[in-house]
Every structure is written in C-alpha cells, then in structure tokens.
C-alpha cells in the first residue's frame, strides 16, 4: 500500500496510510503513516467497534493535517485486547501466520 501512497503523493495529492506492518512500512516509507498494532485485516479498527474505528480514522486525519516531515510514522497506542496489555497475539501471529 505504501507504494501506492508514494505514487499518489508524487502526483501531487497528499496521502495518509494506515500501516499493519511496522517493519515493512519503515522500509517503504510512505509519506505519512499511522501504525495500528492490530492483526492484519483490522487496521481501521476492531469489528463492530464504531467508536474505536472512528478514533483511528481521526488520528489518521490529524496526522494528515499536521505532519511536516516526509516519512512520518506515528505508532498509535491502542491495544488490540485491553485485557492483554502485552499483546500476546503478536507471538501467536509469528507462530501461526494468519495469511496462510
């Protein structure tokens, strides 16, 4: 997605990209990104959580409006599971990739 963001920005249209993979986004360097540390498929929020989804979009729009440094990545602090402050889903994802 970062490649599209870069192409659109090069064409003169400002972009804001949600990021699922901090390592990949850090290499591709879209102009502006918010990293949402949720499992793949949930960068715009948890299912059936309109308030949480809206917060992420508002955070993204805020960065769109205020960022001044190309390649800015803001890491949002929301937890996928508030009862799991250590994000144990990350280990599970490494052991059992959800893309297969």
């Amino acid at each position: 997605m970062g490649l599209f963001a870069r192409a659109i920005e090069e064409a003169g249209i400002p972009t804001i990209t949600l990021s699922s993979a901090l390592d990949i986004t850090s290499l591709v360097k879209p102009p502006r990104a918010v990293f949402v540390n949720f499992p793949l498929g949930h960068q715009a929020g948890r299912p059936f959580d309109p308030e949480g989804q809206t917060r992420i979009i508002l955070d993204a729009l805020h960065l769109l409006e205020t960022a001044t440094t190309p390649g800015t990545i803001v890491q949002l602090q929301y937890k996928w599971d508030e009862n799991d402050p250590l994000d144990s889903w990350e280990d599970e994802e490494m052991l059992h990739p959800s893309v297969v």
């Binding site: 997605m1 963001a5 192409a7 249209i13 990021s19 390592d23 715009a44 979009i57 190309p70 490494m94």
Partner: protein, 157 residues
Amino acid sequence: MAPVAYIEQVRRMFPNDPPYQWTVNTKSPWVPMTKSVRDCRIALISSGGIYHRTQAPFDSVKNDLTFREIPKEVDMAELQVSHYSPKAKKVQDLNTIFPLQRLRELEAKEVIAALASPAFTFMGRIFTRTRLQKEMAPHLIDRLRTMNVDAALLVPV
C-alpha cells in the same frame, strides 16, 4: 513483546525461495496539505479485495491488477471480499478494512468536507512492482484527479 516482524515471518514461511526483495526507500515524496481536513474531499482506497455483488470478484491468488469502484452510498451488505487470506475473506465488519461507514459519518458531521465517490479497492498480493507502478498507479491517479480529491486515505490488508 514487539510488533510482529512480518519480513522475518515471510522468510520463515518460504525458506526454500530466494528472499523477497522488499522495497527499500531512503526518502518519501511529499506535498504539503494546503487546507484543513474539514475542507478536504477525501478518497478511500483499500487493498482488501472488496467488490460489489454485481461486480466480478478479484483473482485471489496473486497479481490481479484491477480496481473495483464502490459508490460511497453503497449498501455495505451488498459488498463481498475476495482474498487469499481466509481470515480476510471471513471478515464480519468490513469497516475494519474499508471504513466507508465511518467516513460517511465524518462527512455528515463535517469533520471532512466530503468522502469522494467512488472509493477504490484492489487485491493485495501484487508481486509485480513494476506493473503496479507503471499501470495500476497511473490509472488510479487519473481517476483521483478527475474526482478533484484533496487527499487520500489508504487502508491495507
């Protein structure tokens, strides 16, 4: 814990293949925002493989270079998902990959001037970087220019 190391994860999944050549950039392109978000017409772009039931599904294996254009007033219940990942296919609330309802609400509340219509979707799993950059991106940019969008929000899957 640390954010999932997806590059390492991919490496482990395909140990017998040559390492995938991830794009590495040292700089980012940049155009400054010249107006506030509340005055912006914003385009939504998602790589979630979303299509309307009257449209053709995507090729969920790889390298589907096509877009689907989704009118912003669409009934979300009429949208479907083609995706390689079973989890993505089974997504229950499309707003997690295609936050159309949230953006419609923000338009109604005048947080943004407008959600541009249509929104654009395509399939992830595009491994031909050259064709993405030389074919897909120019098409998308032409459409965004025609629609006079002020900014774009991109949501990956």
